[in-house]
């Protein structure tokens, strides 16, 4: 019984097996019931008793060697096969991704949502009103009587029937005050407003506003400033702000809020045309005449009104120089506002 010859034959066959199937065949040939080593074990009975233990030990050793080398070879061949599979399955992932590309809200809506996120923390609710409205809600009730110069500030689209396309969302405030809800009133209104102007890159006949109204007993000028500071810092961060006198017919006192130019911090530079500041908010304490118009006693009730030019905010935040392009339904522009320019492989 030549155990070495048996191992030699196994190793010769093993060396020739380079696929999982060939290995299985080698395993069957050299470890199966009819394999030489199994036959050799059966022939042990015919070996002289004094040699039997030595031969048996050699056969056990050979059997162990075959099993070990088979396992090793199996692992090697499997690794090669896997490697070959992986190489064959290579994909060029520099090719563009294939998921459905998500669309995007308009920058104006994003600005409105940001504003509402801030105001909801203070209990404000968004309310709506008509876009075609009576001059009463757009002007008269807001302390802008006929022939008042303030009407020139808002060139108006008049429509059939003596109504108008609202020139500001303050009409919504007027309607809310008219309904005399329970105090405190904390409402915001947002939407389209119309101005009868010649349209160019920076002037639109339709644009968007966002306004808020807070009515309660005992609100003060300090509260107005506190609210405006909160809004400004929530929307624009911790940059410097300043308050300045303004005129709005429906508030008294009226306030403008400026944000320090991000580039020069209020010193004045080319980007801000030397002003150093950019106006972001208009506001004021609700005018006594407006309160009286709707049956409130201005000695009892005070109010804060404020407005944001969301069209300009959207343009500023999006880096759009010409606000008209926000209203041109150009999908290429809207796409580029939300996605980086297409370049090479990512």
């Amino acid at each position: 019984m030549n155990v070495d010859a048996l191992l030699d034959q196994f190793r010769t066959d093993l060396a020739a097996a380079d696929t999982p199937a060939a290995l299985e065949e080698v395993r069957r040939l050299h470890t199966g019931k009819k394999s030489p080593i199994k036959s050799a074990f059966k022939e042990l009975r015919s070996v002289a008793p004094e040699e039997r233990s030595t031969v048996a030990a050699a056969l056990n050793q050979a059997s162990q060697t075959i099993a070990t080398e088979l396992d090793t070879a199996t692992a090697t061949v499997a690794a090669k096969a896997l490697s070959a599979q992986l190489n064959a399955e290579w994909q060029d992932l520099s090719m563009p991704g294939q998921a459905t590309r998500r669309g995007a809200r308009h920058p104006l809506t994003e600005v409105e949502n940001k504003c509402m996120d801030v105001l909801r923390r203070l209990g404000f609710e968004l309310v709506d009103g008509p876009e075609i409205d009576a001059a009463y809600y757009n002007f008269d009730a807001l302390n802008i009587p006929e022939h008042h110069p303030a009407r020139d500030m808002q060139d108006t689209f008049w429509v059939t029937g003596g109504l108008l396309l609202r020139s500001h969302t303050t009409t919504v405030q007027a309607r809310v005050l008219e309904s005399q809800p329970q105090l405190p009133i904390r409402i915001a209104s947002a939407g389209r407003v119309y101005r009868n102007e010649a349209v160019d890159a920076t002037h639109l006949a339709m644009f968007h506003q966002f306004e808020g109204l807070w009515i309660d007993k005992g609100l003060t000028f300090a509260n107005l400033k506190g609210l405006l500071s909160f809004i400004a810092k929530s929307l624009y961060g911790e940059g410097r702000i300043r308050f300045k006198p303004k005129f709005y017919p429906y508030t008294e006192p009226s306030v403008g809020v400026d944000l320090a130019c991000a580039l020069c911090d209020g010193v004045g530079c080319e980007a801000c045309h030397g002003a150093g500041w950019v106006t972001i908010l208009g506001a004021g304490m609700v005018h006594p005449k407006v309160f009286r118009e709707f049956g409130y006693d201005p000695d009892e009730v005070t109010g804060i009104a404020f407005g944001l030019g969301t069209t300009r905010m959207a343009a500023q935040w999006a880096g759009v120089g010409k606000v008209k392009s926000l209203y041109d339904q150009e999908l290429a522009v809207l796409h580029d506002l939300h996605r980086p320019p297409v370049g090479g492989a990512q």
């Binding site: 459905t100 809200r105 075609i132 110069p149 396309l165 010649a198 009226s254």
Partner: protein
């Protein structure tokens, strides 16, 4: 207003540093829009209600209110009031004060000095001749418009009266006579109108270089009357701008005196007394002011003394004590100061808007998004996830866009609310539909080569309705979406999916699912106003609880052609927003059986006009109770006997809750359904596909 800082410095002390000056002016509401430090020229944006700011003295007073520095005024001549050089006859109370002063050339006329002309130079007013320059100077310095007539061109007494219908005048710089709106204040002699009061003088009485006798007018006119005349004639002057904002009658004689003073230094001499007519007298308006209330409002410590000091600087006089004050409003502020709140503003400006306290009021609780806000967000998540971009379109359009819809005057979309004064023809019609602008937007993007095109908008349409609460129209909130071309971007393998009416249907179904609403899309004949703007064979109405709330479909080829879209086949969807605000029906989860349902497929050939939906509904209705669902899973289009046919495969899901449903029972049920379809739909050409 364009000014020169060095001139302003003659009236009140100013900071020496340019930045400090700019900050000061911004801080008191005289916003600096431009400042040329080298020349001192500045452009200020004035508050619209502050007519008194339209002169150097007014600006100086405002600065003084903050700094406390005293103001200085230029010299003027005290005028003797007496018999007018021309008889004055006033018949309207819209002129509260009118003065006339005669000035004659006495020696060689000399031009105004550069110092005197500096305010005109800053305001970009060209020097004309000494009389005209002097009136412009007085207006810039004191805010009192004045006007020089050639006294020798006046015939008879001067009337200050209202114009009558058909009356004409020849305004300065006009090429011909114009009709003066009836009811305007005019200055006239026996023959002609000399001036349209507060707006402009007239050619026939104007002073020229040959004029030797000037009648100087200085007056106070009603703001609304001046404004009406100015607008009606489309003539806007420095004078009208000043009067429209409310002038100060107490400055009438001061302004005239300043003109006289200047001209007397340049070869002219006042002759005789100044005639004055009019009913004006200081109304001596007073406003009660509680010191404690002012301090509380501003959250700033104040006492009577400080309030008195600060208000005095602006020209107010204050009486009273122990926190109970009475504030008298000066004539130059009667136009904008009526309430205690107006005085709070003065105090806040004097102290500084950035000095008073800043306190956020306490808030007990925040607010959640409203139902309407939440619905909007849910709908948007569906659209955004499918690749749609939000856009905004105008609220109006022109008749040209309506024509592209190819509708006639009997069509429900023909009638619009119309704008009556639009500057642009494109804004003549307030929109009553969204489709036209949506297709226009597609056309714009196609021209730009943009792909894919998928957009949506929340907007409103306006519908003439005399029975509406406003007597004119109703407004309807709508959601629309439009898509054209490939759905997917960056598609480099396989055939990209295209936008079809089916996809739009899927969008509506997904919106319904997101909102828990049973939005149904039925291809039956629609009564939606847009129905005949949509391809008749590729449209369906959207219903909710039996009511039509929207429409989907492919845009009618007639309309795509009108928009010059050659290959585009946009598909459109529109739903009324209020329908989406309906309360959702919560989904009820039914426990699934541990046993698999039994599936069977049936394929039928359907000719045109027999819809797969009605066959599916029929199968579900006629099947046994344990037929849980019928889904359409395949379409194969082919021809049979030259007729287009569709082979539709229906997947039938038979329930097997207890696990004891036999294949024989399922097969038997399927056979019965095949027979029922043959009976019902066979006459319409439906057959089982082998």
């Amino acid at each position: 207003m364009k000014i020169n800082a060095s001139v302003l410095n003659r009236f009140v002390g100013l900071p020496s540093e340019a930045r400090d000056l700019r900050d000061l002016l911004d801080d008191i509401g005289l916003e600096v829009k431009r400042h040329d430090v080298a020349t001192g020229k500045m452009t200020l944006e004035l508050l619209a209600n502050r007519g008194d700011h339209h002169c150097y003295l007014g600006l100086a007073r405002e600065i003084s209110g903050r700094t406390g520095d005293a103001t200085c005024s230029p010299s003027w001549s005290e005028l003797d009031i007496g018999e007018s050089p021309h008889p004055l006859n006033i018949t309207t109370d819209l002129c509260s004060l009118y003065s006339a002063t005669l000035i004659e050339r006495e020696s060689t006329e000399t031009p105004l000095t550069p110092d005197e002309l500096a305010p005109l130079d800053a305001a970009e007013i060209h020097s004309v001749n000494p009389p005209v320059d002097a009136t412009n100077l007085a207006n810039l310095e004191f805010g009192q418009p004045t006007h020089c007539f050639d006294a020798d061109k006046i015939n008879g007494p001067i009337s200050i009266r209202l114009s009558v219908a058909g009356e004409t005048a020849w305004p300065l710089f006009a090429e011909e006579r114009v009709e003066v709106p009836a009811g305007s204040i005019v200055i006239a002699d026996d023959e002609k109108i000399l001036a349209i009061a507060g707006v402009i003088g007239c050619e026939e009485s104007k002073a020229t270089e040959n004029t030797t006798r000037i009648l100087l007018e200085s007056a106070a006119f009603d703001p609304v009357a001046v404004r009406k005349a100015s607008r009606a004639l489309s003539i806007h002057t420095d004078s009208s701008a000043r009067f429209e904002r409310g002038s100060d009658p107490s400055q009438v004689l001061v302004g005239a005196g300043r003109v006289v003073h200047v001209l007397e230094g340049h070869g002219w001499k006042r002759k005789g007394a100044t005639g004055v007519v009019g009913q004006w007298k200081d109304e001596e308006r007073t406003i009660g002011l509680k010191t404690a209330a002012a301090a509380a409002f501003l959250d700033h410590p104040l006492d009577d003394t400080e309030i008195t000091d600060r208000l005095n600087r602006y020209g107010f006089s204050v009486a009273g004590s122990n926190g109970d004050l009475s504030v008298r409003v000066p004539p130059h502020r009667v136009w904008d100061v009526e309430f205690a709140a107006d005085l709070y503003e003065e105090l806040a400006k004097s102290i500084g808007y950035n000095v008073t306290a800043t306190n956020l009021p306490p808030v007990d609780m925040g607010a959640l998004p409203s139902h309407s806000d939440a619905v909007k967000m849910k709908v948007e998540e569906v659209l955004l996830g499918a690749g749609f971009y939000e856009v905004f379109t105008n609220g109006f359009h022109g008749t040209a866009l309506r024509e592209k819809l190819g509708i006639d005057d009997q069509h429900p979309l023909w009638s619009h609310v119309e704008t009556t004064n639009a500057l642009d023809r494109g804004y003549g019609l307030v929109k009553n539909n969204c489709l036209a602008q949506a297709v226009e937007a597609v056309a714009g993007n196609v021209r730009m080569g943009t792909r894919p095109i998928q957009m949506y908008e929340w907007t409103r349409t306006f519908h003439p309705n005399a029975a509406a609460p406003n007597g004119v129209c109703t407004e309807t909130h709508r959601l629309w979406a439009i898509a054209d071309g490939s759905v997917e971007t960056d598609r480099w393998a396989g055939t990209p999916r295209q936008s079809t009416a089916w996809r739009m249907k899927g969008m509506v179904e997904e919106i319904g699912t997101a909102l828990g609403l049973d939005l149904r899309i039925s291809p039956s004949e629609s009564t939606h106003p847009l129905s005949d703007c949509i391809h008749p064979g590729r449209q369906a109405q959207v219903t909710l609880n039996g009511a039509i709330v929207g429409i989907i479909g492919e845009v009618h080829p007639r309309i795509t052609k009108a928009f010059k879209l050659k290959r585009a086949r946009p598909v459109y969807m529109e739903i009324e927003r209020d329908a989406l605000l309906n309360q959702s029906t919560p989904t009820r989860y039914a426990e699934r059986s541990v046993h698999q349902p039994i599936m069977r497929s049936l394929a039928f050939s359907l000719p045109a006009k027999v819809t797969a939906g009605e066959v599916a509904d029929f199968l579900l209705e006629r099947g046994p109770e344990w037929l849980e669902a019928v889904d359409i899973v395949d379409l194969f289009e082919h021809e049979e006997d030259g007729q287009p046919m569709r082979a539709i495969t229906f997947a039938l899901r038979y329930g097997n809750a207890q696990g004891d449903r036999s294949a024989d029972a399922v097969n038997q049920a399927s056979e019965e359904l095949i027979a029922a379809v043959a009976d019902t739909f066979g006459p319409r050409g439906v057959s089982l596909r082998a």
